[in-house]
């Protein structure tokens, strides 16, 4: 069913939200580059952080060619609640790395295999790099008991993909996306290597621009960092 609030959204809003999420995910990864359980995992966190920040730049760069913004507030982040605040536990990293990151990457895959030429040509390289993200996440998932974080990551991934019969399915029918909502969910289970836990999503509260049901947003510290305000504190006063 198409929830009443969901009007027809363009590809622009979807790619903007994808870019916002990838940028924040990259930042959250980077926050763990000296805090992961082993030196190798520190290095992997830094490398994956750089990948995702780089991928967000390519996605932002493609927006220009996807038409005009349609209601998406350019100054606010259309990110999942999972990325609102820094993670406090390695289990949260692992759940985001295997489930959320894979959900975003499957959307990149759906765009790269759709009919929009600018996305077809620019997004394919990302998929090779992203392969190591889910290998990393999937392996750590075997080690870490992160049940709650994994359930939350699944819920927010499915919320982000959106309800059946709404924008994503419409974009799939138009050929702009290679996969619809069901196919994205099926591929996500396949990639993560386990079935989605049962989640009950209240689509009436779903925000189609930010692709989430919860209010809130990123913390002030992160926003300051993204806008370069945090670094200014270290600059000599003129």
């Amino acid at each position: 069913m198409v929830p009443g609030r969901v009007r027809e959204l363009s590809l622009y809003s979807l790619v903007k939200s994808l870019a916002d999420n990838k940028q924040l995910l990259g930042m959250r990864y980077a926050e763990w580059c000296i805090a992961a359980p082993s030196l190798e995992a520190d290095i992997a966190a830094a490398a994956m952080g750089l990948d995702d920040i780089g991928h967000s730049r390519v996605l932002y760069g493609s927006l220009r060619e996807l038409g005009a913004p349609d209601g998406a507030d350019q100054s606010s982040y259309a990110n999942v609640p999972y990325l609102d605040k820094p993670w406090t536990d390695w289990g949260q990293f692992v759940a985001a790395n295997s489930v959320l990151d894979s959900a975003f990457t499957l959307m990149i895959e759906a765009l790269a295999n759709g009919k929009v030429e600018v996305l077809r040509s620019r997004l394919k390289k990302m998929l090779q790099e992203e392969r190591y993200h889910y290998l990393h996440g999937r392996s750590w998932m075997r080690e870490v008991r992160a049940g709650k974080a994994i359930e939350r990551a699944w819920r927010e991934s499915l919320e982000w993909i959106g309800p059946e019969g709404a924008d994503v399915d419409q974009l799939e029918r138009d050929g702009q996306l290679a996969y619809g909502v069901r196919e994205l969910g099926r591929r996500l289970e396949e990639r993560v290597g386990s079935a989605a836990p049962p989640v009950d999503i209240d689509w009436k509260t779903w925000d189609p621009i930010r692709r989430r049901t919860q209010p809130g947003g990123i913390d002030k510290g992160t926003l300051d960092m993204l806008q370069g305000l945090a670094e200014k504190r270290y600059m000599p006063s003129a």
Binding site: S38, E40, A44, A47, G91, L135, H136, S139, R142, E143
Partner: protein, 74 residues
């Protein structure tokens, strides 16, 4: 949330790579990981400073040594 700080059971993997097709693979380093998935992720994250055209990893216990430095061939 419980997790082990260092993995309980790990394998060592040697990492091989080359920059061009005409040169042979070189051993560029090694990684320690509990399984192939993580070993691949670590190898790629740790040794991606070059634009390799090929990279592969081999579990060290799969390597059969014929002789080592200081030992004679026969």
């Amino acid at each position: 949330m419980a997790y082990s700080r260092v993995h309980a059971n790990v394998r060592e993997y040697d990492v091989f790579a080359r920059k061009t097709r005409v040169e042979p693979l070189h051993q560029v380093g090694s990684v320690v990981a509990p399984d192939d998935d993580l070993a691949m992720a670590y190898a790629r994250a740790t040794y991606d400073e070059e634009r390799w055209v090929e990279m592969m990893i081999v579990p060290r216990d799969a390597v059969i040594s014929l002789w080592s430095p200081g030992e004679s061939e026969s």
